[in-house]
């Protein structure tokens, strides 16, 4: 049983953009695509840049410094220079708020 914690009010998470939040001491970027909310660790696995400062395109988020893109569903890098995945977390929407579990999604 995973424990879901409050991350942000749903209406603050704008479609197609990333919102930086902190949940239980972990920095997370929340991304909304229509009815889906993705949560990804807010730090590029290559040069420690906050991913929330980058562009969101479809189900991918791009690190602005060197251009690595990550799949928001799996956290896997799509192109270089990043080679390591970034943890992604399960989310849930309840009563207009976004909840995040800090147990990363396992492949």
């Amino acid at each position: 049983m995973t424990d879901y914690q409050f991350a942000a009010p749903l209406d603050l998470v704008v479609d197609g953009a990333a919102l930086p939040v902190e949940v239980g001491g972990v920095e997370i970027a929340l991304v909304r695509q229509g009815d889906d909310i993705y949560a990804i660790r807010d730090e590029c696995s290559h040069a420690s840049i906050p991913l929330s400062e980058g562009d969101v395109e479809g189900s991918e988020i791009e690190c602005w410094l060197h251009g690595s893109r990550f799949d928001l569903r799996t956290g896997k890098p799509i192109n270089l220079p990043a080679t390591e995945p970034v943890p992604v977390y399960p989310t849930r929407i309840e009563n207009g708020t976004v909840l995040v579990s800090l147990e990363p999604v396992q492949e």
Binding site: A47, S48, I49, L65
Partner: protein, 388 residues
């Protein structure tokens, strides 16, 4: 486009691209964002705000001092101290903040012409990570003296420290800094040595424990014949960040420098950084320099960054070079040893011992050498099991 003859000949002091002029004023050093060249490898989030505005209290580590004859070691208030003697000017925000916050300077002075085989040993032990603290150490080796100083860091702390070393003409000094911190220590230390005419300085940096260690070490020369030997040994475990930044500024002709750092990494997210730079100024004709860094990555998940640099303003030199290697365990070494009947685990231990022994054997302080061989075995036992 150059306008004057002196510009064309580059007679004015040349600024190092990697190591610009410093400043004592904290406000001249903006809070780093992590994108700056000098900060880009450092995990700023783990510095406990040392790089921002965390209040720096008076020096809080307990000090045990053993001094042989001819060496004095005492703590003096900043106003009465000789700090600044090395010509050091803070080059980053943490160092400038530490300079501003330090209330006392621990001064170790080796008297003129004293030759002391017995090392001076200073053990600093901390027990508080919550209150960040500022330290300042000044080591002065007077003319023609010959001595060894060992600084041991133990326990835990959040420490921003400046170390100045002054070698007067003809002095010979070995300084060993041993970071044997507990797992949660954060230590940002900047060290500068000024080396006199025909003086020789050997610094050995050993970094084993701590959460984040960032050590910036630099040296320059007052006159000809100065010799600098900067040796380093580090062993990073899971989650540890160990960073060494070296800078040798050849400010005088016919001087020598040798930089050699060796490190091993094991465990998830063990991270080491080595950035070496040598600036050969226009005036520094006939100098000889070499810098080398070798990294042995023992397990998956560890990462070593290694960046050697050379900034050369004159070609009239005896020699300049650098080298860097980062690799995993050499299977051929292992195969060879096993083919001679040595079991795998023992063979692995032998190879790593041999790797580090290259540095350890040159320290020249027998009790420290023995201690380090033990420390290496202890680190290895984490991944390889107990040493045979």
């Amino acid at each position: 486009m150059t306008d004057t003859l002196s510009e064309a000949l580059e007679l004015d002091p040349v600024e190092s691209h990697l190591h610009p002029e410093g400043s004592f004023n904290v406000d001249d050093h903006p809070v780093p964002s992590g994108l700056e060249e000098i900060w880009r490898f450092t995990p700023l989030k783990r510095l406990r705000e040392l790089h921002k505005d965390a209040p720096l209290g008076a020096f809080s580590l307990k000090r045990e001092v053993e001094t042989p004859e001819g060496v004095t070691a005492l703590s003096v208030p900043v106003a009465d101290s000789a700090r600044g003697l090395s010509g050091y000017v803070p080059t980053d925000r943490v160092s400038a903040r530490s300079w501003e916050a330090a209330s006392e300077v621990f001064e170790i002075t080796i008297d003129r012409s004293v030759e002391q085989a017995q090392p001076t040993i200073v053990t600093l032990r901390g027990d508080d990570v919550a209150q960040a603290t500022a330290g300042h150490l000044l080591v002065v080796a007077k003319q023609f003296s010959k001595a060894t100083v060992v600084i041991n860091y133990e326990g835990t702390a959040t420490l921003a420290e400046n170390i100045e070393v002054v070698l007067e003409d003809g002095a010979q000094l070995t300084l060993l800094t041993l970071h044997d911190w507990q797992d949660d220590a954060v230590h940002v230390v900047t060290q500068h040595a000024r080396v006199g005419r025909d003086a020789s300085f050997k610094h050995v940096a050993v970094s084993l424990g701590g959460d984040v260690i960032r050590a910036s070490t630099s040296a320059d020369y007052v006159g000809t014949g100065g010799d600098v030997d900067l040796l380093g040994l580090y062993f990073a475990d899971a989650g540890q960040h160990i960073e060494h930044r070296l800078f040798v500024d050849h400010t005088a002709p016919k001087t020598k420098s040798n930089v050699e750092y060796k490190g091993a990494l094991q465990g998830q997210d063990a991270h080491t950084v080595w950035v070496g730079n040598v600036l050969i100024r226009k005036v520094a004709e006939g100098i000889e320099t070499y810098e080398q860094n070798d990294n042995l990555v023992l397990t998956e998940g560890a990462k070593a960054d290694s960046v050697p640099n050379l900034e050369i303003e004159t070609g009239e030199i005896a020699g300049a070079g650098h080298a860097s290697t980062t690799g995993r365990f050499d299977d051929e070494h292992l195969f060879y040893l096993q083919s001679r009947g040595i079991p795998e685990q023992e063979a692995r231990t032998l190879v790593v011992r041999g790797f580090f022994n290259d540095i350890i054997r040159r320290i020249g302080v027998p009790e420290v050498e023995a201690k380090l061989r033990e420390a290496v075995d202890e680190e290895l036992s984490l991944t390889l099991g107990d040493a045979p």
